[in-house]
């Protein structure tokens, strides 16, 4: 995984539920600090676009999908516990 790889994220949220808002805030903060200028975040509200949630197999909210770089990774929850998130996204090496 090169340092120059662009990260594409899709975050599924459930309206303005507290955990969804938290997840979006945590993701934005993470991207700002770790992946400045090389990230894309798409936010999908399951209430507005349930078909997309169905197509992506999203059953729990909030769910974060890392679409790029491959492979696709899924993380559920508010993303408040950073360590597993960084591990899953392959960012823990960068942190070091």
């Amino acid at each position: 995984m090169s340092r120059r790889a662009r990260f594409r994220f899709r975050l599924y949220i459930a309206g303005d539920a507290l955990n969804s808002t938290q997840a979006l805030a945590n993701l934005t903060a993470l991207c700002r600090t770790r992946l400045p200028d090389r990230h894309e975040i798409e936010v999908v509200d399951v209430f507005r676009e349930p078909e997309r949630a169905l197509a992506d197999g999203i059953f729990m909210t909030p769910t974060l999908l890392r679409l790029a770089p491959p492979p696709v990774r899924r993380i559920v929850g508010t993303l408040s516990r950073m360590q597993p998130v960084l591990q899953a996204l392959g960012l823990d090496a960068i942190a070091a």
Binding site: N19, N26, P50, L54, M60, T63, V76, T78, P84
Partner: protein, 606 residues
């Protein structure tokens, strides 16, 4: 007195009076939920237990151990809704992949694939991904949003959450679990979906779900059903119990069930509410002419007949005779043998002149060797019912029904036997069951082990009588409802010409059979012959006497005639003599010329 009387009427008449009648009308009018308020599951028996299915627009909790049939029941509920009730349904699979679920259910013939094509059935795979990373709090809103969309699209009325525990286990704590359960429940209620949530219970603890981590769900939902799967002495026994059902009566007992060829089959003892079976006055032959006579014409069509006896008392022969007679009448018949192979039964019956082989060949008679079937009594019943239906049997023989009480079936056999009889009555099938009595239970007539003797219409008991170094078979009719029947014990004689019954002799309070009977018969025949000869002799003698008397009578008559003639002659002679005399005198007078004749004619006064 008067003051009190005047004080009381007012409140009773105006106050509590109407109130009381109002209350009473509430009490007498049972909160009867119409069929509309229930969603049929299409599961034979289950709809009866619950009085019409699961509560519509409510949630039902289905709890059971591994392999207890939760998924099958839930799926059958959906399949029935999609196929028969025009109620589309959604199956949310948390544990197993939906493809596998559909594949496994293929054999039940619920046409799931077709329902899926017609958009009456939708499977949602919601298995937690193994690569799922958790970080912090999350909830099930995503799933509900997706379901919401799907529900609208399909106009779904039914929904199943299979193995909800799997997804709940992902949640960090009990509080979160509860929150999600309430979220789900509220969602179900708001969408007015008839829902089933299945949950696993511990392997051992199956009777009480209150001790389970999700026990509180049982208080939340409107209906709770517990599935049980246990093994008793190596025989698998399944049962289910409705634990609660808000706003409706239900059968509170455990009911045995079976997962058969077409899904669930819940055994229900018919209750008072069942429609009485049609009763027939038609008689069917037992296959033995004299037995028919003893029964006043044979068994009733649709009756249940029990033949009890020790082993070797010709129970099979008697039931075989019935089967043969049924086939001869052209009725489709089914013969289920538990003890021996059907081919052996056919061969053995041939030795007593009962030819079943030709009917087997023509397909009219279906022989089933049930020894191969292992399983609970429930299994037997379901198989027999299914096979009888398949064959279109009007007459069914089960030989012996007591085989059911073997191997761990003691408890269930009784109710299975009850339902067997109920079933045959309902179908109008004439049922002949044999029941083996325990050798050790004494020589008395004893009840059959199954205690089904109280239920059957006709009970024939076969017995051995050991006398004078012989063992002979005796037959008696213990009971036969609605028919006059002989009270006599008859001897059952098997020969290559067939089965016959012979009168027995009672002598000095003892019943004689076999050689003793034959001797007695011979002696009686001798006596009878002697009496006949004597009577003949006497008649001849009397004839002779009569003839003799007649002859004497004739000779006397002749003599009489002779005497009469003689007498008449005598009279005539006397008269002519007298005339001659007087004429002679006159002539003489005339000749003599006398004139003193006048004084002589007129005698003057003395």
């Amino acid at each position: 007195m008067q003051a009190a009387a005047a004080a009381f009427p007012a409140p009773t008449a105006s106050g509590s009076g109407p109130l009381l009648t109002g209350d009473l009308s509430v009490l007498t009018k049972k909160p009867k939920r119409s069929i509309q308020s229930k969603a049929l599951t299409g599961i034979a028996g289950f709809d009866e237990i619950t009085g019409g299915g699961l509560p519509r627009s409510r949630t039902t909790l289905l709890v059971g151990g591994p392999g207890s049939g939760k998924t099958v029941l839930a799926l059958q509920f959906l399949a029935h809704g999609a196929r028969a009730c025009n109620e589309p349904g959604i199956f949310v699979a948390f544990e197993e992949r939906s493809k596998r679920i559909v594949g496994n259910a293929e054999s039940f013939g619920w046409s799931l694939a077709e329902s899926q094509r017609k958009k009456k059935l939708y499977f949602m795979d919601a298995q937690p991904r193994h690569d799922l990373v958790q970080s912090g709090d999350f909830d099930l809103s995503g799933m509900l949003a997706a379901l919401e969309a799907k529900t609208r699209e399909m106009k779904a009325k039914r929904i199943v959450f299979d193995a909800l525990d799997v997804v709940l286990a992902l949640l960090p704590d009990v509080t979160a679990e509860r929150r999600e359960i309430y979220r789900l429940h509220a969602w179900l209620l708001a969408r007015e979906l008839t829902g089933i949530i299945t949950l696993k219970s511990g392997a051992d603890e199956t009777n009480s779900i209150s001790q389970q981590p999700f026990g509180f769900m049982q208080f939340m939902v409107d209906c709770a059903v517990i599935l049980n799967h246990s093994v008793v002495l190596g025989v698998s026994q399944r049962s289910l119990r409705v634990q609660k059902y808000r706003g409706s009566g239900f059968d509170e007992n455990e009911s045995a069930f079976l997962i058969g060829n077409s899904g669930f089959d819940v055994a229900v003892a018919h209750t008072l509410s069942r429609v009485d079976a049609k009763v027939s006055n038609e008689r069917v032959s037992s296959g033995i002419a004299r037995l028919d006579t003893m029964l006043g014409g044979g068994y009733y069509r649709g009756a249940s007949v029990l033949i009890t006896g020790f082993s070797g008392t010709a129970k099979t022969t008697l039931s075989g005779a019935f089967a043969e007679a049924a086939c001869r009448r052209g009725e489709r018949t089914m013969f289920v043998c538990f003890d021996t192979n059907s081919t052996e039964v056919i061969r053995n019956l041939l030795s007593v002149g009962i030819h079943l082989d030709r009917y087997v060949k023509s397909g009219r008679l279906r022989m089933i060797s049930a020894r191969a079937i292992t399983g609970s009594a429930e299994t037997y019943l379901v198989r027999i019912k299914a096979l009888a239906k398949e064959h279109g049997a009007r007459c069914v023989v089960i030989d012996p029904v007591s085989a059911w009480s073997k191997s761990g079936n003691d408890l269930s056999t009784q109710s299975v036997a009850d339902r067997l009889i109920d079933w045959s009555k309902g179908e109008g099938t004439t049922l002949v069951c044999t029941s083996l009595l325990d050798e050790m239970s004494g020589q008395g007539e004893g009840g059959s082990q199954l205690q089904i003797s109280a239920l059957v219409d006709t009970w024939i008991h076969l017995n051995y009588l050991i006398q004078a170094g012989e063992r002979n078979r005796g037959l008696s009719i213990v009971k036969s409802r609605g028919t006059t029947h002989s009270n006599q014990v008859r001897e059952l004689i098997l020969s290559d010409a067939g089965v016959t019954l012979a009168d027995t002799y009672t002598a000095g309070g003892e019943v004689l059979m076999g050689t003793l009977r034959w001797e007695k018969e011979r002696a009686e025949r001798g006596v009878h012959e002697a009496a006949e000869v004597a009577a003949k002799l006497k008649r001849v003698r009397l004839d002779a006497e009569e003839a003799e008397l007649e002859v004497r009578l004739k000779s006397l008559q002749t003599e009489l005639v002779a005497k009469q003639v003689e007498k008449a002659l005598l009279v005539r002679t006397t008269q002519s003599d007298k005339g001659e005399l007087s004429r002679g005198r006159t002539q003489m007078k005339e000749l003599r010329g006398a004139d003193a004749a006048i004084p002589a004619r007129k005698p003057g006064p003395p």
